[in-house]
């Protein structure tokens, strides 16, 4: 291979791709060895699968009430029982997975990058920039997440979009903190100094050197955080400030089931199990990712 490399410049791109792929394959094979991580991944793949194929997998209409059959016990017609309007809980959980997935994705794609950028800039520049950013972060961190989300929702009005916005606003500060901590370590690393000596600007250093090095911690944190995000979203749904009826949001479903918890336990329990499983999946995956990616756990060389 080495001989073709020096002759053909085009093959260098292929060689680079091969090197990257080899690196990725090594990652995959290490991940495979982690049984719990694989279990978590399986749960999440199942979640995605359910969300995509909900119409095909469902047995009823998620919104159509059938009052004659309200609160039916789990059985042949309603696999996981029916709720107070006679809607199939299994179907609603399937459709609910779409909402859950959407909330999680929206929070993650907004909160993590915001935190990453704020943290990386803060840590790299230091001084007054750092002080200002970190004090703002402290203010956000000082208020309990759910409470802050509640306040935002109360101000913006209930609804799933506002719930997502509120969770995002409360979710970025930990990322900023973490990215800053990483940036503080990385900014004085010799390879960053080397780029500095070559005349690289601060912006170049942040984008090319510091942010990529913070990324693995952010990914780990993100996966571990998703369970928390789901719980907060469900919590907001439960107290009626998240998704509004008739949306089949899991937290809201538990909330309606609360009234029947002693006689018709399945109405609240089934969505509860769904939340539990998905959170477990994210946590298991997050732990596995941490084992693989966390620079502090990984030995050098």
């Amino acid at each position: 291979m080495s001989s073709t490399l020096s002759i053909e410049p085009i093959s260098s791109r292929q060689a680079l791709r091969m090197a990257r792929r080899a690196e990725f394959n090594r990652f995959v094979s290490r991940f495979r060895r982690n049984r719990l991580g694989m279990a978590g991944l399986a749960i999440l793949i199942l979640l995605v699968f359910c969300a995509i194929f909900a119409p095909l997998l469902s047995t009823h209409d998620p919104y159509l009430p059938d009052l004659a059959k309200r609160l039916s016990a789990p059985g042949a017609e309603f696999w996981l029982g029916a709720d107070e309007l006679g809607r199939d809980i299994y179907t609603r959980i399937l459709y609910g997975s779409r909402l859950t997935l959407m909330i999680v994705l929206q929070v993650v794609v907004t909160a993590a990058p915001v935190g990453l950028v704020v943290g990386a800039i803060s840590g790299t520049y230091g001084g007054i920039v750092d002080k200002i950013f970190m004090r703002i972060t402290d203010v956000f961190l000082a208020v309990p997440k759910l409470l802050l989300a509640l306040a935002f929702v109360a101000a913006l009005g209930p609804g799933i979009f506002n719930a997502v916005l509120a969770i995002t606003l409360t979710a970025w500060p930990p990322y900023a903190r973490m990215a800053r901590a990483e940036a503080l370590v990385v900014r004085n690393a010799d390879y960053v100094n080397a780029a500095r000596l070559a005349g690289a600007s601060q912006a170049y250093l942040i984008v090319r050197h510091i942010m990529p090095m913070c990324l693995s911690s952010v990914i780990v944190r993100m996966t571990l955080d998703m369970a928390g995000v789901i719980l907060i979203a469900a919590g907001l749904g439960f107290i009626g400030l998240g998704a509004q009826p008739p949306l089949p949001e899991w937290g809201a479903m538990i909330s309606t089931g609360r009234k029947f918890i002693f006689d018709q336990w399945w109405v609240a329990t089934m969505p509860g199990i769904a939340i539990f499983l998905v959170c477990l999946g994210f946590n298991l995956l997050g732990d596995a990712m941490r084992d693989l990616l966390d620079p502090h756990l990984r030995q050098r060389g």
Partner: protein, 242 residues
Amino acid sequence: MIRVENLNVTFGAATVVRDVSFSVAAGESFGLVGESGSGKSTVLRTMMGLNRSWNGTIEIEGAPVKSTGRKDLARRAQMVFQDPYASLHPRFVIARTVAEPMRINGIDNSEQRARELLEMVGLPGAFGFRFPHELSGGQRQRVAIARALALSPKVLLLDEPTSALDVSIQAEVLNLLSRLRRDLGLTFVIVSHDLAVIAHMCDRLAVMRDARIVETLDRRQLQEGRLVEDYSRELLAASGDV
């Protein structure tokens, strides 16, 4: 080529370099020896503009470091760091590491040139597509040297270039450096705690202790053991055969 005069560096209240002056002629190799904490690495880092709080004069090729732009300076002098495990970006393949200074400075054909540089330090072809963790310490230090040469500087500052390597590899890297200096007409400033390395590599050297230069001598004086200061003698005795 290089002129350092009355250099003082402070970290907060501590003065880590006090009144250091030396000059290096073009093509010469100058050594700075001393024990850990004597301030020798700080001198190098300050010369490259990595420390802010200093006063005195530093000129490289006649350009004062304080008022010369980073990119201008980058083409005059480059530095090789001590720890080859920390000086390469862990997520970049080494060809990219070597090409980076050229990319930053908008030099065309950086990939091609990176390959040539790697070949020059003895890492041909497919080596370029390895990640740093796939290389040995000596190979990594070669990469660091190739990167330092990417902008074709005339001055190379070497901060303990071999002390993180094992003995058998040290000689290889030192020979490579000597060869490059000869072929490319480079000027070296080498920092080391190892007198043997300095004696092998340098025409002249300065002994540093407690932030000051204690004595400046040339190679012959060192070989003949004609040292003036007691401290230099102790250092020589401690390092055994030179």
